[in-house]
Structures are given as structure tokens and as C-alpha cells.
């Protein structure tokens, strides 16, 4: 049990995909204009991560080393298609705001990186927990960034007005430029706050 907890926490703090590994930057920058987008994208990635890690780990003895990359791609693309169809059917508003970045989860380097670095070398239960930890770590990070951008850029959080009426929203923050700047400042802050890497 302790082992699984350690693997889980690894994804959230020690090897946080966004703040520590600086992976999967495309969705982190593109769709973080509203906190609800952040959660939606984070959970979609978490789902794909858990199942792709699990399946790749189950098949790790059957996949020859030379063709592992195409095999990973097919497994990941399958689960992304599943997520895409689910979101399209049940959350049309989310589908609208995430747009092309749902299919682009396929090339999210977090998922690829975990398949290569963890799932291909570890037993299924470990791999699934690793996927969950990494996914939650990504969700937390991306939700934090989108909450900052939404609160200061629009004045709302999850669509609810939180800033006082006299607060002038900083429109630049929900523009592309704001994505880079908020992410840069958050990364800098995390460099100071998170415990130093051993």
C-alpha cells in the first residue's frame, strides 16, 4: 500500500508533469482560459493516462522493443478516441471549448513519456497508479493556471463573479501572450515553493 502511495505522490509533487518535467505544454497554454476547461482537459488526460499505462504495461512482454513506439501510439490513440466520443456525446460545451485539443491528447508528451519511462518497465497495478498520480498532478497544475488566468483575466472563477465590480479585468491574460506569462510566473513560483529535487 505504501508503495502505491509513493508512486501516486511522485506524479503530484516530485515529478509533477507540468511544474517539474515541463511536459505537455500545448494544452497547458492553449485551453487554460477558464478553470472549467482546465479540469475537463485534466480529467480527460488522466483517463487516457490510466488506461494507456495499464494496457501498455499488460502488453509489455508481448511488444518487441523495436516497434514499441507505433504500438504505444495505437494504444494511446484508441483511448483518446474513446474520450473524444464520450465528451462529444455528454459534454458538448466542453467539446466546443477544448476543440482540436482533445484529439491532440494523442501527442501529449506526458502520456508518451509515462508509457516509455514507466509503464513499459513496471507491472500493471503500479503503472495504473502512476497514470492516476501523473494525471491528477497534471489536472491540479492546469486547473491552477486556468484559475489564475480566469480570475485576473475575466474576473470570474468557474463562471461565477469573484472579483469586485470595480475590478478591471486584465484582458491580456486570456490572450495567448497571457498563457506564456502566467505559466512562466507560476513555474518560477513553483521553483521557489516546491521542495528541492534530491
Amino acid at each position: 500500500m505504501k508503495k502505491y502511495f509513493k508512486i501516486f505522490m511522485n506524479g503530484i509533487i516530485d515529478e509533477n508533469p507540468t511544474f517539474r518535467m515541463v511536459l505537455g505544454m500545448c494544452p497547458t497554454l492553449a485551453i487554460t482560459t477558464a478553470a472549467s476547461n482546465g479540469i475537463g482537459m485534466g480529467l480527460a488526460v488522466t483517463f487516457v493516462l490510466i488506461f494507456s499505462n495499464l494496457v501498455i504495461s499488460l502488453m509489455r512482454k508481448a511488444i518487441p522493443d523495436q516497434i514499441r513506439i507505433p504500438a504505444f501510439i495505437v494504444v494511446i490513440a484508441t483511448f483518446v478516441t474513446i474520450v473524444q466520443l464520450i465528451i462529444k456525446a455528454f459534454f458538448p460545451a466542453l467539446d466546443e471549448s477544448l476543440g482540436v485539443f482533445i484529439p491532440l491528447i494523442v501527442v501529449n508528451c506526458i502520456i508518451f513519456g509515462r508509457a516509455e519511462a514507466f509503464a513499459f518497465k513496471n507491472p500493471p497495478a503500479d503503472a495504473a497508479v502512476d497514470g492516476l498520480g501523473m494525471g491528477i498532478g497534471f489536472t491540479l497544475a492546469i486547473t491552477l493556471i486556468s484559475a489564475i488566468r480566469e480570475v485576473f483575466g475575466v474576473g470570474t472563477l468557474f463562471g461565477v463573479q469573484v472579483m469586485p465590480a470595480g475590478f478591471p479585468p486584465m484582458g491580456i491574460l486570456i490572450k495567448p501572450a497571457g498563457g506564456f506569462i502566467v505559466l512562466g510566473l507560476t513555474l518560477a513560483a513553483m521553483n521557489c515553493l516546491l521542495p528541492k529535487k534530491a
Partner: protein, 191 residues
């Protein structure tokens, strides 16, 4: 003619892949420490994106739509791109060792560059025909090359500067990219 011009200006400047659509940010941050490598990456991406737009269009039109398999789009496109990158790598190695030397290292990386899959998806959602798809692929890639080269130039200078410790590396680069994006935002009224 109007459509061509709109795509050219739109894809290179207004909806720049790196600066406004956020496609291909991993290599944008990863291989932009030196101007030379950034240019090499840009050229490799341009090459692959032009061919990928063409092949993805054909696959979509004559395979997926013809057989009612549109829901397999993601899987089909990513496989096409992975295969394509492999083939392009082998062909270049055979016919032009010089170009292979220049692009070689970047080619395998392109499979996971979301700009390539992104442009294929974008062409489908925009409903471009064959010619416009390829044009959009090339123009978007040129815009990407422009952005990554400019960014590499900035980072070369930045690495000599005296940044506070917690700003070194990614945070500093990110802010620089942000300021660049502000500049690119100025194009937004063009079309």
C-alpha cells in the same frame, strides 16, 4: 486568389502556430536554445507538414469518408504521420546525406509534434480542398519556423543575461515567449 492570400497571411502571422494556436510548444521550448538547431527543426517541420497535409487529405477523403469511418480520424492520422516521418527519414538518408545530417536528429521528434497532427485536423475542420490543405500546411509551418527562429535568437541573448536563479531556464524563456506573443497579437486585425 483571395482564399490563398487569407490562408498565407492568416497562418504565418495572425494565427501563428506557436504564438497564437499553441501547436508544437514542446519542440518550441526544447530545441530553441540555438538559432541553428531551431532553423533545422523549422525546416524539418515544414517538410513533414507539407507532405502530411497532402496524405492526410487523401486518407480522409478517399478512405475515412468513403467508408464512413470518420470516427477513426485520430488513429488514422497519427499512424499516417508516424509512418510518414519514418519514410521521409529513410528517403532523405538515401538521397541527400547532407540534408539528413542537418535534419536527422529532429525528424523522429516530429511524430510527437502536435503541429503536424494539428494541421491535419485543422484542414478537416476548415474544410479545405487538396490545394488549400497543402498550402495551409506549408504556410503554418513557415510561421512556426519564423516564431521558433525569433525565439531562439532571443534565448541566445537571454542566456548571456543575468537572470535571478528562480527565473533561469523555462520560467525566463516562457516570459520572453509571452512578450513575443504580445507582438504577434498585433497582427490580429490583419484579416
Amino acid at each position: 486568389m483571395n482564399a490563398v492570400l487569407t490562408i498565407l497571411i492568416g497562418s504565418i502571422f495572425v494565427n501563428n502556430f506557436a504564438m497564437s494556436r499553441f501547436y508544437g510548444i514542446c519542440p518550441f521550448l526544447g530545441v530553441s536554445k540555438k538559432l541553428e538547431t531551431a532553423f533545422g527543426m523549422g525546416m524539418a517541420v515544414t517538410f513533414v507538414m507539407a507532405i502530411a497535409s497532402l496524405v492526410a487529405y487523401l486518407v480522409n477523403q478517399y478512405l475515412l469518408i468513403a467508408f464512413n469511418l470518420e470516427y477513426l480520424q485520430v488513429i488514422a492520422f497519427i499512424l499516417v504521420i508516424a509512418v510518414l516521418v519514418q519514410i521521409v527519414e529513410m528517403i532523405i538518408r538515401k538521397i541527400s546525406p547532407g540534408l539528413y545530417q542537418a535534419l536527422g536528429v529532429y525528424l523522429p521528434l516530429i511524430t510527437t509534434n502536435c503541429a503536424v497532427l494539428g494541421v491535419a485536423q485543422l484542414n478537416v475542420t476548415e474544410g479545405y480542398n487538396l490545394v488549400l490543405s497543402v498550402l495551409n500546411g506549408v504556410a503554418s509551418a513557415l510561421g512556426y519556423t519564423l516564431a521558433i527562429c525569433l525565439f531562439a535568437g532571443i534565448r541566445e541573448r537571454l542566456s548571456l543575461g543575468n537572470l535571478p536563479k528562480w527565473m533561469e531556464g523555462f520560467p525566463g524563456a516562457m516570459i520572453a515567449a509571452g512578450l513575443m506573443a504580445v507582438a504577434f497579437n498585433g497582427f490580429s486585425g490583419l484579416i
